[in-house]
């Protein structure tokens, strides 16, 4: 192992391919990328391009839960997870699913958060510590005695996140974690995720159609189409360089970037495409006052 490389890259996909059993075509083909520790990666692309399939590979649901033919490998923290059982992988890569209701098992929030560590067979004192920590950083401590059905969608999703964090994974993968939530709650959840990353150095990979919601937080965007990576870079660079390709794929680029592109086409503005409203306001403000 090269000591100068290992500490930075936390997750690496090498030539990853997958075909579901009985499917006509491959859902993933030759996917390569690396993610650095503490990075916030946004995964986008049209429906059916393989985002969910990629997430399933990352946490071992493929090939254990979904049979099919897999190629290539995934390294997490230097170890190859494709050959590990899901229960082992779950300690390295946490997975938050789309529907928050279907990932809560216990009768109270606190016990649900404890569920993962219990499965790991950790000592009681350590479970207690992890549960309190995970509830604390997801803002769910005051919900601890409530039942899952007594929570709002946003609260449920934060509890699901807490349950994953209590397993202390190095990477958290979230597949459209806000699609069941209203915009305000979705914003809250994304904010909570961003805090995690900033304050606890947790690496996050989020699948999200609405770039508006995440462009503010994400360092990087990986865009997929038909099972392949077609763009990979900072959100800024991809918006600047591949804007037309993104809109062509139907990726929900931020509205403010769309506006900017229109103005640019008319020759009214120039330079970097803003990804958040504040950046645009600053640039336009400068223009309007002169």
């Amino acid at each position: 192992m090269d000591p100068s490389k290992t500490p930075k890259t936390i997750l690496e996909a090498r030539n990853l391919g997958f075909q579901y059993e009985g499917a006509e075509a491959r859902a993933l083909r030759g996917v390569n990328f690396g993610v650095e520790r503490g990075e916030f990666v946004l995964l986008a692309g049209p429906s059916g391009c393989g985002k969910t399939t990629l997430c399933r590979c990352l946490n071992g649901l493929i090939p254990h839960f979904y049979p099919g033919v897999q190629e290539g490998e995934i390294l997490v923290d230097g170890s190859n997870v494709t050959s590990m059982p899901t229960s082992e992988v779950s300690r390295k890569v946490g997975y938050v699913f789309q529907n928050p209701e279907n990932q809560l098992f216990a009768l109270t929030v606190e016990k649900d958060v404890a569920f993962g560590p219990e499965n790991l067979g950790l000592p009681r004192s350590e479970i207690r510590e992890r549960v309190d920590w995970a509830m604390g950083i997801t803002g769910t401590t005051e919900l601890k005695n409530l039942a899952p059905y007594e929570l709002s969608g946003g609260q449920q999703q934060r509890v699901a996140l807490a349950g994953i964090l209590a397993m202390k994974p190095s990477v958290v993968v979230m597949d459209e974690p806000t699609s069941f939530l209203d915009p305000v709650t979705a914003e809250e959840v994304m904010k909570a995720v961003d805090d995690l990353r900033l304050e606890h150095g947790i690496t996050v990979i989020v699948v999200e159609h609405r770039l508006d919601l995440v462009s503010r937080y994400a360092d990087r965007i990986i865009v997929m189409d038909s099972g392949k990576v077609v763009a990979d870079g900072t959100v800024q660079d991809v918006l600047d360089g591949q804007f037309d390709q993104l809109t062509g794929l139907g990726v929900g680029v931020p509205r403010v970037s769309q506006l900017w592109a229109m103005l640019k086409r008319d020759g009214l503005v120039s330079g970097q495409t803003p990804k958040v409203v504040e950046a645009a306001a600053e640039k336009l403000g400068g223009k309007l006052s002169t």
Partner: protein
């Protein structure tokens, strides 16, 4: 509409409500011994006074648990059956007192189960099941790992409210398309439920697949020596209940075997 409301009400008499009374805090294992005792004693003696005594024993527990009112719902639910038991025995010529005794026996059993389920959190029950060697053994035999049965139980309880909401959603959706549930004769009414049951089944299957996936992601089923955040521990009140129940159980059996005279009804 009103009829289904009544049946739901009677279920309240068996449903757990999270409270913190001394009865709620009793260990499920101690409570299980208590109901076993009630069960055995009520079957050993067909004596009206013994059975009435058993019924009265429950009153302080119902009061302490604050579930007296909800116990009435369970009794109301059982009233019809109690009436049938009484008259059936009366008509078969067993006399008023024996008929009454058998009816009271039914009420005793109803009460003791109702008390147990109203005051035992499913979570605690799951933990208790996990501690029973036989349950762990059977669970491993049938389902592959020792805590499968207790997990199935708690998850089922957890899913009931969720599935109830699903059911309501499906009913509303089908009603808005013109489905009329309360029309026609009995057979017709049962048939009316088919368009509800099929989508509901599909929703439930989909849910269970997603749950299974999420379970994997949480490291389930985990290790043989799976731990748990909470642990059941016997408190003084549990020892007291166990002591009381086992004494009554032993004495009753002794009386039953040694003094058959007392066994004679009435």
């Amino acid at each position: 509409m009103s009829r289904s409301f009544v049946t739901l009400r009677s279920l309240e008499g068996f449903k757990f409500y999270g409270r913190k009374t001394i009865v709620h805090n009793l260990d499920p294992r101690a409570k299980a011994l208590f109901i076993t005792t009630v069960f055995v004693v009520s079957l050993l003696f067909t004596n009206l006074y013994v059975l009435l005594g058993l019924l009265i024993v429950h009153v302080p527990f119902l009061l302490a648990a604050g579930v007296l009112r909800r116990w009435v719902y369970s009794i109301r639910a059982g009233a019809l059956l109690a009436g049938i038991i009484f008259f059936a025995n009366l008509l078969t010529g067993s006399g008023v007192l024996p008929a009454l005794a058998l009816t009271v026996r039914f009420l005793v059993l109803l009460t003791t189960f109702s008390l147990f389920f109203m005051t035992t959190s499913p979570d605690d029950l799951g933990l208790a099941l996990d501690r029973v060697g036989l349950v762990r053994w059977l669970s491993r035999r049938w389902l592959g790992f020792p805590n499968a049965l207790s997990f199935t139980f708690t998850t089922a309880v957890r899913l009931v409210p969720t599935l109830a909401v699903d059911a309501q959603t499906v009913i509303d959706a089908q009603r808005s398309r013109g489905l009329e549930l309360d029309k026609g004769n009995i057979l017709r009414r049962i048939r009316n439920y088919v368009p509800i049951l099929i989508p509901l089944l599909l929703v439930a299957i989909r849910r269970s697949l997603e749950l299974a996936e999420a379970l994997e992601a949480r490291g389930f089923p985990g290790r043989e020596d799976r731990t748990s955040l909470y642990e059941l521990r016997f408190k003084a009140s549990d020892y007291l209940l166990v002591l009381g129940s086992s004494t009554v159980l032993a004495v009753s059996m002794w009386i039953f075997v040694i003094h058959p005279v007392l066994r004679l009804p009435f």
